[in-house]
Symmetry: D2
Subunit: 455 residues, 4 copies
């Protein structure tokens, strides 16, 4: 088999080396963007006077045919097709003869693959962005449908204060909103065309790179060819984006897994997103959420791996950069599946108000009691201490806070009066936190309105 670059080589490459070196096993999926970019490049070289209009048309039509073969699943790989660029050029040559050899003028696989990868990622970003929107919409819808439901809010996984179920759910909306913002920003950095950088030194052809960028849907061009061929910031940045998103999904999943445990039991998961056990007939496991949590590892691993591969590389293209694709593709594939699964799991879960109420404990209103004292002029630090003693008394007696009598309270501090007993009310507690971002129904409704406006 002959290689694109074989002219000066005597010996054949070793068979293991061929396998080690080849990327066609994973870069074949770039066929569509590779052909798209080549067609645009043919037009640009024609405009630059490098090829004739007839040659341009031959090349473009030939590439169309190659695309059709890929689309139909008919494309036949041959030995020597080490990567998608080689495979497409080889096939094009078979179809249209030596004129195919004009396509690569002034172009290197170095700027070609960087262009392809950016085009591919731009598509993926648009798909993921849509999935993200669906997920956010679902969070808003489920929040809205359960707007008055109160559940225990935890810090350190210990009961802290009552919060709205909707408030809890909406907290994830805002994480995803930051993810969306980051995604749009990195999209802009991805939409920079490297084509025309050649192997490293730029192109000797009189190509209008700005026009070529516009033709391919890029927003601008790379300003330095040596940077252009080796810039993989956009891949790293996407992988970090995905890692950050996966952290958010892992935290949501952790909550869901805990809340699905029957001792808490705040949610009921649909059969559609749970699985059973091969041994234990009663099991119904929250696999969707466990996988979402677990896959954060894979994605963070992908990010770490790329950073390691990039670290300490000499300038411009080094073959190490071939290691950029698999972590990128794996991350795209993982999230393209994970987001709809999560959307599905959220839209089919049912909150269980009774279990939530059962887990609410008067002790979660201790802060409200302290606030009550503050309103009577006692400095907060002192109030906190007084209520600490109230809590201790209740614990010693093994009763709930609300079971303490006014007498009990007054023995701890004389400021307490009958009104203090009104704090034992979860609705009241929640309703008081109505400053922006708080858990009061009014504040959560405002949050939701703002979220809707952003979507």
């Amino acid at each position: 088999m002959s290689k694109l670059w074989g002219g000066r080589f005597d010996g054949a490459t070793d068979a293991n080396m061929d396998r080690f070196n080849a990327s066609i096993g994973f870069d074949a999926r770039l066929w569509r963007v590779d052909i798209l970019a080549s067609q645009a490049y043919a037009k640009a070289t024609c405009q630059a006077g490098v090829i004739t209009e007839a040659e341009r048309d031959q090349i473009i039509d030939g590439l169309e045919q190659v695309a059709a073969e890929w689309q139909a699943g008919d494309f036949q790989l041959k030995p020597g097709d080490e990567d998608i660029h080689t495979a497409v050029e080889r096939r094009l040559t078979e179809l249209i003869g030596p004129v195919a050899g004009k396509l690569h003028t002034g172009r290197s696989r170095n700027d070609q693959v960087a262009t392809d990868l950016r085009l591919y990622l731009l598509d993926a970003i648009d798909t993921l962005s849509k999935h993200l929107t669906d997920l956010q919409r679902t969070l808003v819808a489920v929040s809205e449908a359960n707007i008055e439901l109160i559940m225990p809010g935890y810090t350190h996984m210990q009961p802290a204060q009552p919060v709205l179920f909707a408030h809890w759910l909406m907290s994830f909306f805002w994480m995803l909103q930051r993810d969306r913002q980051r995604l749009m920003e990195l999209r802009a950095r991805t939409a920079i065309l490297p084509l025309g950088s050649g192997a490293l030194a730029g192109t000797p052809l009189n190509i209008d790179r700005e026009a070529l960028a516009r033709a391919l849907g890029f927003a601008g061009i790379s300003q330095n060819s040596m940077d252009g061929v080796s810039d993989r910031d956009f891949v790293a940045e996407f992988l970090f984006w995905a890692a950050m998103l996966s952290i958010h999904l892992s935290r949501l999943s952790e909550d869901m897994i805990l809340y699905a445990n029957p001792s808490l039991g705040f949610i009921h998961l649909s059969d559609a997103y749970t699985t059973g056990s091969s041994l234990m007939p009663q099991k119904k496991n929250p696999d969707a959420f466990e996988l979402l949590r677990g896959k954060s590892g894979r994605i963070i691993g992908n990010l770490t791996g790329l950073l390691v591969s990039l670290k300490g590389l000499p300038s411009t293209y080094n073959k190490d950069l071939q290691e950029d694709k698999e972590p990128l593709f794996d991350t795209i594939d993982t999230l393209t599946l994970a987001l709809p699964v999560l959307t599905g799991a959220l839209s089919t879960l049912r909150p269980r108000p009774q279990k939530m109420r059962q887990a609410l404990d008067d002790a979660m209103l201790a802060t409200d009691l302290a606030d009550w004292l503050v309103a009577r002029g006692i400095p907060f630090r002192r109030s906190h201490h007084i209520v600490g003693q109230v809590v201790q008394l209740a614990e010693q007696r093994g009763v709930s806070l609300a079971a303490l009598t006014l007498d009990d309270l007054q023995r701890i501090h004389p400021s307490f009066d009958a009104d203090a007993l009104t704090v034992w009310n979860f609705e009241r507690s929640v309703a008081q936190r109505r400053a922006a971002g708080g858990t009061a129904p009014a504040a959560v409704r405002a949050q939701i309105a703002q979220a809707r406006a952003l979507l």
Copy 2:
């Protein structure tokens, strides 16, 4: 020693546990922002009618005194000062008495520390941004001062094509330009105020959070209190930013280290940024660049570490989040020193034109010869193959390409004529790549002009 939160506790904490739990060893550096935020909070609670104007002034003045003690290095830590917030409040109480206990009303250390950390990072971003600009300016200045110098351009660390030294240097300018852009974007996300989120559920006080944000220089407020207290995206995003930057620095450093090796010898490093050996008297080592390269590990480790700590955490604040500070501070410190060192090392290095010229080899003009054939109508793929045979012939003879005669060339392909021999000219090769982003002096001058405009 008594603890802020000790009211309900009977037993003392274990001494090891106290050390394990305490963050004062590393969060003391937050004293300035902690006090700043507390002063603003005192004003906000006064406006909300929670404290009187007299109390507000007492608190603000007392905090001013605490700040003065820190500033002067006089602040005395005491047992029980588990973190900076506790230490400041304890000292404030000593200074102004029980009214100090009103400062914490409606506030939790959860929203307090998140606010402090953001304020601290905003400052650090501004410092780093300045250092980054200095570094970029230096790259531009050194490029401009050596604008016509030609050196070997490598891909795969093998001679590829001649490039301008300035073009090579400017490739790093653009990496840093992306870093700058990312930094500004993450700055915007850092400038979001969490204060007013309470422990998790929001504040029951009628605080104007938007006004508080403005008073502290934030651009907006967090929209959900549960997210507000546990959002550490801004830390992770900064660490990724630093990791990406450190990758760029590691690549620049790798080049510098290789170019300082005498067999290449393209650069001469100043004594000010090199060190010697305890054993070998002749040594002059590029330590600055080796450390820059090595420290990418530390920073990527900091990023990974934080992501791991965040992964799978349940909603809202968990103590695991205390692990956010050390990687952040270490990364800030590392870069705050690394960037000026690099700027210094770059501004004092001297290119060595003779060594560069010595490393230029006619074979690096092989592509130009192929382009020459293309201009005669031979498809590039065929030209590439023909020139491959030319290269092989020269190798077999053990001579440089330019040593081949026209006759030799014509025996390989009849299209060659005397004009073909004009390609053996490095200046000509470089000058031809004048499309945007190319290595031609004109294109590099355009690059520099654009860079100056951006600075």
Copy 3:
């Protein structure tokens, strides 16, 4: 200030560069091992005839004095003391004059620091090994003290089968046992002496490296000087060991945090290992376990960081290797505190049998019912399906499995008879799993006996 290596240098180093380059800030803690190794080296060079016995004694005594200064906290660092080796040699010179300059003969800081670091780590390993033993002993003791206590066993955090509390606790014993085994193995690889490797090429002195190794407590010597000065496998391996251990601790901590949540409530944590909230008076947070879980991030970050720093380094010593110390020291410090805290937290926690019993549900005996059918000759896969229908019926009725009548069961499958109802017994279920490694009290007692034998 003069530098050890300054002979050939004209210019001073830049002040920032000095700070960037210096390691004394973190390697000072090596003073003891540095001096120990130098004393042994002085003896070895004396035996090799390089220095006289009088010189040897002068050096050894001088070093003793330097050690005494460090020990007493009297050692004064001076400008130019860039690392511990330099500082010690500088001080030695002040104390004993030019003969101090003979100590470094044939030695480089490259082999010196590698030796110091190994000595330091060997000490740390011994300390950590002891802490690990204490922790394992505690697990065994708490298991033994609660040997008959039954709790829910979870998979996917869903109720699976009843298990002994002691069985659950002992599962961590075995994780730690693997950690111990790994620690002993890496200790052997750490106990290899690099001293005598010089800067990279070996020593020209006739030193008996094997004897030197024995004198310093090493088990053997490095076999190749180029490897000897740059081998940091032992650091990476230790960091991985620590990462693996920290994963185990994070899993134990996760369980503890969940079990301390009052809805599960299986354990009661001592005040000595919990903390309160600055805002919420009722809070008692499992901080010890959250920190243990969170610190897995830091340690994994340390591992990742070192691997990144090592990746792609050219042969022998490069300054990047200076980045080995901080992650190592931080990891040692973290674990040296974490292990005793965990031991303390475990030895003071109290199981809460009533809450465990409350969380046991007949559905966790579904597998036992299937096993009952298997004993009647029904293939397990079929039995599993039949019991699945039993579970479904109970769920539809909203009753527990044990509330179903024999009639109900027989309507699902005729094989059921009165004996089937005996499966609704948690003690019976547990007792049946008495094969090695199972949760039956007998099997757990055997486990504990084996554990004791290993300790």
Copy 4:
């Protein structure tokens, strides 16, 4: 399609969820070990009296047939075959009917998959161990074949001291030797049988787990069923092993890439392990080594990813553990190809003695000159300083050290005499470092002899 565990489920799983959940796409390669383990398990359950001998034979023969289908590539996957265990059991049922349903008695996929994975890894370890031996043998052979060849030894990539080419190559032998040692140690920990742990609580069957272990080639059994089903230490440990090895390969590759650069030019790589450029006809790139260096990123990413997935998981099996397989398989596949490629590349490279000699510089003998002074009684530190001045003088004059006259030397220090000029001899320098581990030919021959003994 029906699922193994479907008894209690009403609703179907969502189609996306099925894809998200399924592992058959990557765990199909476990078919052989899955069947092997099932056959052994059938025997064990027969011995335990759970199934008859006839049933056992039916199952074993049926499994043999399933294996034959896999082997022949005839196995047909069906919807519902979510993993290899399910697929095999489903097919077995088709072949032998309901008796197949007896195979899973007392077994869970939790202990089954852990067993399969260990069996698979044990095989892979044996293969990799063989490849490692081949690589080590090659290093020894190439070293031996070039035993007297001298090259520049670098530290900080700056000329340090002359070393033998063989000494440099052998330095990698010892790194691999540590890798081999670690591999054998982790093999022992992998060879522990979890089968018989059930889902988490152990098996109620009277199975002889020790005998089952022996039958499957394991060295022992897991001692705690809860640990047994969730222990993935062996995977993490293997991934770390691979990461450490990949660091070694990345360092070797870095050297090779640099030495293949024509300015150094110490080695000539075979066409069989290099590739060309699609644009530049003269290029011959060391792709094999760049890929080896780059793939360290992938492997470190795999390690990091698994550690993240494991971090903070609750006890026993969680679905997150499904994320263990892909990083493991990818790492095995990568190394199974990488090691032979490296062996091939090393066995076909040719050292270039002339280029090595050309890069040797008298300054690399400066230490020898200092040692010469030491032999005259001048303390090393002083000698170092004197030679530093010698170096400086030569630099100022722009000449090599050997070009300085005795007069020049004596003006710097009176101790110099004519004998001092004998140090300008690279062979002499190398020969002097004959202590164990040094670069003298005699010491390197001893190294090689020891290496051969270890192989």
